[in-house]
């Protein structure tokens, strides 16, 4: 096991992980620059651009901590660079842990067990990397076609434009309705957290609208997470 960890943390593995990370960071900066440039041409103000960036940044703080907790729990099993590459960059924390244990299973061992050898680690790396590439391949191949379909629908008429907006909003609400209810059936504390966060969001958004408080709008999701966690702490 110790020897495997030396391999898992060796130079080449680090180099590959760092390169993938560099691509992700480069892409985010490139797209922010492209969007900022286009924002002017479609009539968005500089304040709106700054506000969007700030809000996105604040909204990522809470989830980042939750992601880190899962990442940390995988480090002793997969090593630093592979964990960084899988969880921090492409994958989703809960799915990666499932994939890692399935890979170890296939080799006939378990994550962290004493007979977890070089070959078992290689099997896990294959499973996670092949599995994660599925999303990327589909996104790389299909996004352009999806965009064409959307354009066809929205270019038709005012009425189909309105339908498209109903579909978009309903899809977003449905996604979060489903995610929230999946959490709510886990127990009382979870229900309480969902409700507290919802109420905090409603209060801070209506306050922000009433008094034109931009900063409050930017922080509203952050506050909802904090309030939810605060109440949840006492309910656990």
């Amino acid at each position: 096991m110790e020897e495997v960890m030396r391999l898992a943390n060796s130079g080449i593995v680090w180099i590959i992980a760092t390169l993938v990370l560099a691509i992700v960071v480069f892409q985010a900066i490139k797209f922010i620059m492209l969007a900022a440039k286009t924002s002017k041409e479609i009539g968005m103000s500089t304040e709106e651009v700054h506000s969007a960036l700030k809000t996105g940044a604040i909204a990522a703080i809470g989830p980042s901590f939750a992601i880190i907790i899962v990442a940390i729990s995988l480090i002793p099993l997969l090593g630093d660079p592979l964990t960084l590459m899988r969880i921090g960059i492409i994958g989703s924390a809960p799915i990666e842990s499932v994939g890692a244990s399935l890979g170890a299973d296939a080799y006939g061992t378990g994550l962290g067990s004493s007979d977890f050898n070089y070959q078992a680690f290689t099997t896990v790396a294959w499973t996670l990397c092949l599995g994660g590439v599925g999303w990327l391949v589909f996104t790389a191949l299909a996004t352009k076609s999806m965009s064409k379909v959307e354009k066809k629908v929205t270019n038709k008429s005012e009425k189909s434009k309105k339908t498209m907006m109903v579909v978009t909003t309903a899809a977003m609400v449905a996604a979060f309705g489903n995610l929230a209810s999946a959490e709510m059936i886990k127990g009382f504390a979870y229900i309480l957290v969902v409700i507290t966060a919802s109420i905090t969001m409603i209060i801070s958004t209506s306050l922000a609208n009433k008094h034109q408080l931009n900063w409050l709008r930017e922080w509203s999701l952050g506050f909802s997470i904090i309030a939810g966690l605060f109440v949840g702490y006492f309910a656990l």
């Binding site: 609400v173 979060f176 109420i199």
Partner: protein, 237 residues
């Protein structure tokens, strides 16, 4: 009358420029999005290839295939469903960033929604898409700023966090989802109620996770469309 005519023309002209700007933006987004995605795909696969064939730890294709098939059995449907389900919300550029940076449901979508809420941009519009891109881009960078030092510092940092505080981390997810759901419920309360009801019923069943999500989205969209149609009919009468 003539004034009206002029405003109409001006408006049309500006929508044309806007459409042109968006087309240009999408063109660049497709180019850079695909380039970065393919580069990431090649690099990601180079790791197991290196372990197997350069270092010689190849476990054999049968074993790799067994692991991959078991994993793909869970995630293969999601490879296709997730990008399609989230595309209307994320838009072209949002899709490219979100699927490379990962953590879509718990980080990218909430960040996009919060950013749109902050500046009052509707999802599915030009302004909505640019706003989502800015929000997700910023979220992706912040996530890396948090993650890198902690991974480098290793588990030492985490063990410094008291046990009872660590306990509440699973509650971050319900807090995010509750907050974002309410954000939409303010604008369209009825949508929120429908989605939550359908979600609760579906989650009580023993369906596979991705089917739950798909079913909830399809049913909610269907009911909301019917609802809007009825409202329109009422208004025109």
């Amino acid at each position: 009358m003539s004034v009206n005519q002029e405003t109409v023309e001006n408006k049309e002209l500006s929508t044309n420029t806007q459409n042109f700007a968006m087309d240009k933006f999408h063109g660049k987004a497709h180019f850079w999005g695909r380039l970065t995605l393919w580069a990431a795909i090649i690099l990601t696969l180079s790791l197991p290839v290196y372990l197997s064939f350069v270092l010689g730890y190849h476990p054999g294709w049968t074993i790799i295939l067994a692991g991959f098939v078991a994993y793909a059995g869970i995630v293969a449907v999601v490879w296709v469903l997730e990008p399609i389900m989230y595309f209307p919300v994320l838009g072209v550029s949002g899709t490219y960033i979100s699927f490379l940076t990962g953590n879509i449901g718990n980080m990218c979508l909430p960040s996009a929604a919060a950013a749109q809420n902050a500046i009052g941009a509707e999802p599915g519009t030009k302004k909505g898409e640019i706003t989502a891109t800015l929000g997700i881009g910023a979220a992706s960078l912040v996530n890396k700023v948090f993650l890198i030092p902690i991974i480098l510092g290793g588990s030492v940092l985490i063990s410094a966090i008291p046990e009872n505080i660590q306990q509440i981390f699973p509650l971050v997810l319900p807090a995010i989802f509750g907050g974002v759901l309410a954000q939409f419920a303010i604008k369209k309360p009825i949508y929120g109620v429908i989605a939550l009801l359908i979600g609760l019923i579906i989650n009580m069943t023993a369906l596979v996770v991705y089917l739950k999500m798909l079913l909830c989205i399809v049913l909610t969209i269907g009911i909301c469309l019917l609802l809007e149609k009825r409202n329109d009919a009422k208004q025109s009468v």
